[in-house]
Amino acid sequence: MSELIVKNGFVFDPLQGIKGDRMDIGIKDGKFVETSALGNPKVIDAAGKTVMAGGVDIHSHVVGPKVNVGRLFRPEDKLFKSPLKRGNRMEMGFSVPSTFKTGYDYARMGYVFVNEAAMPPLHSPHVHEEIRDTPIIDNAAMPVFGNNWFTLEYLKNNEIENNAAYTAWLLRATRGFAIKVVNPGGTEAWGWGLNCESIHDPVPYFDITPAKIVTGLIETNEHLGLPHSVHLHCNNLGNPGNYVDTLDSLKLAEGYTAKNNFGREQVLHITHIQFDSYGGDSWRTFESKAEEIMDYVNAHDNITVDIGQVTLDETTTMTADGPFEHSLRGLNNLKWVNTDVELETAAGVVPYVYSPNIRVCTIQWAVGLELALFAKDPMRTFISTDHPNAGPFFRYPRVIKWLMSREARDATMKTFKWLERTIDATSIDGIDRELTLYEIAQMTRAGPAKALGISNTYGGLVPGMDANVAIYALNPEDMPSDPEMIEKAFSQCAYLIKDGVVAVQNGEVVAEPAKRTIWVDVKVPDNAQVQRDIYEHFLRHYSVGVENYKIFDEHVHNPRAIEVDATQ
């Protein structure tokens, strides 16, 4: 079949420790091979360019019901046409792009794998329909567990094995990828218009604390040995002074070590930690606590984080943290969508404008960058914008620019209305660190792939792995003096090769190789108790039958199952 060789590029592959060496990369039949194994390959000249593995996004809201309601209820988000030459299908939307634009834009940035951040299990057929219509990129989706009635009941009674059996069942029923936890307990409380204010605030009726939900799920995750760890959106997100609660949440991981066969080392991934790193006791005294948070993260190997960088755009917030979206509605008084999902979760959607004229927004901007710049281990700290919550994903190149250039940060800060107060409330002005291309490769592909437990397939250029390569028009030996060129190079890659097929060339989509749905298939011992509980809850409390709840094979697009045997 097809053979390709990427010649003479500066290669950055943290999985192999390659730091910008001039190398050739061989590709045969969609996989990386040693160049010696090639016969007469087609040559892609990467001389003077940066070569990395295809990008891996650990946390992004791209498919599913709340994403789609964000599209539906914001016609104003479609006001401007995409400036780029369109792909095969029409490309619509800004902060919440259409599925087609999502796939094409990720490909243009050199990304190949995107992990959907929250799948309400009841809505999994919707998630998979959108995955089918998202071209080029491979997708996984994490079902939410942190407010699921089965989970709350099992964990309250310390029934880890039962919870594990239920988790395995739900991952199969929804073709899900990992255990997502959003505002544990608090979202269930939102069923009554309430919240759990801290990790020790018990859930109404279920009488279990968020802390116990998180530790119980960590134990479940390591009992099963899943590829990814528990993926946590903390309690009390978004509020001044919440760094105390965040540190409490981080400490829950103490004493746990990762048990899996996928090379993952963390037991807890804290997502969009920017939203959890605030000091002060009101919006007036709002300040950064990024240093305190990163001191803890740097000192604890069993934790990974993604930053959730604010990009200073008008965007659409969406999360399965229903009470948070309700309080955000109270803050900006814009339109508000809420969807409580029976027995499982509750999502909210509210538009939001991160303005450089608003002090809290510019402090948030600084917090995100501080987190990445204080990181001692870029293999455990990843770039994200919690798309579209802190900003749209296609701003990653801008985030990379800020992280790689003090000059770019200063230029942005000059536009702030409350510059001095932003500087006073943060330490961003005292940081001179500029990240290297190698560190960017760690934060955008190798690191997330390892944390997701998929680094045997994605995130590197090792022979045998899927042949996903991004080539950027950046010469590490002659980096542009204008930081804007960094953003441009990462926005429109010179080439994206997906599964050995050139999908993007000079920033334009030229082919749509088949995309996949990645899910985790866990074998567990038969568990009659859990089967009976499932039968009872569906008989009495769900509004669809269990046989219609479990997704039909025909609705899962081009699946690739990661097998886990937890029967031993």
Binding site: V63, P65, N68, V69, R71, L72, F73, R74, P75, D77, K78, K81, R89, M90, E91, M92, G93, V96, S98, T99, F100, L122, H123, S124, P125, H126, E129, E130, D133, W149, W190, G191, W192, G193, H326, R329, L334, K335, W336, V337, N338, T339, D340, V341, E342, L343, A346, V349, R540, H541, Y542, S543, V544, G545, E547, N548, I551, F552, E554, H555
Partner: protein, 434 residues
Amino acid sequence: MVKKIENVGCPFCGVCCDDLVVTVSDDGKKILEVENACVIGSTVFHRAMSERHTLPRLRQPDGTYKEISYDEAIDYAAKVFHNAKKPLIYGFGSTNCEGMAAAAKVAEKAGAVIDNCASICHGSSFLAIFDNGYPSCTLGEVKNRADVIVYWGANPAHAHPRHMSRYSIFPRGFFTGKGHTGRKIVVIDPRHTDTAQMADIHLQVKQGHDYDLFDAFRTVARGHDIPAEVAGVKREDIIEVVDIMKKARFGTIFYGMGLCHSDGRNHNVDIAISLTRDLNDFTKWTIMAMRGHYNITGPGVVWSWQYGFPYCLDLTKRDIAHMNPGETSSVDLAMREEVDAFFNVGTDAAAHFPIEPVKRLRKHPWITVDPHPNMATEISDLHIPVGIVGVEVPGIVYRMDNVPVQYRNVIDPPEGVPSDEELFERIYERLCEL
């Protein structure tokens, strides 16, 4: 041996009951019995086998229909798309999402306007949602938690026969073990409907004055005084109902066409949403549109992920979709004679549109895609029969609360008859060749 098929979804209304049991003959060709469905749902299945055409029919110069092959029909349809300056594809209340996605692909390729039945139904709800959002929930949440139910301008006893028993008034859920005895039911309707018959309180609002009444509710909820009578309802009654609403543990407002198609339209829905927002400052309240057909929620969902708009999508500009009801809505386009070909899919525009737009659409090629003959097929230039979703064709549909439900087929379509999805994929392929 006859075969019993369980967990069958019902292709009638937006309640999307998925607990039907259908008995089919041992050759798998005849539907013998339908259990658990309401009388309308059951009729959909029993009617499946009668009045069916198995070949497309093309109108002849003498006015009669002549059967043609599917290849000929697909060629004809593709050419109509190809030759039209601004074709309109309308319908989709009664088909699956796979068909809607395939039809959108054709619309995009052909540069067409694509619209669905919301255009003449809950479209005004979307306009309110654009302005004000939509604090809602799934129907199981209502069953498990709700202790106050409000039906406003809706008559589920007739339009959504199992809505009250499955989700709202009668079921015993997790926190609602007493069923209907633990719930307060309020019906607000100018008519004393069969639904009002079930209510603890029926407020007989003056027709066309729903907005006034909502305004009074909001005023009372915020602690202000109101006149002795608003919209035909006495102050004491309003205060009583608002008090019930504020003291609810969990409440849901179900509203129907009585709001979105009486005077005020989207403004009625808008203020209903505002009332729900207000009530969330006191306790938990949600709101839900009583969507009509079993998958009329579907096109709004599918086209939102594909283009960002739920209905009235003008794709004629090829690289940007445009939506502006009044300008890009089917009836208005027809009235202005802006479209020069009409595709009626999975609905009956001839029966549901006012007669004037039907007459104007009829001046141009009219193609109807529907399993059964209906008024539209009888005035069409071409009728292309397809399989019946939920009976002969499986697929995903969206319930009125946006929950996807996976439908099954219980029998196969007549030999050679394609699904909507297959049909539109084939039209797309032919269109690419032209």
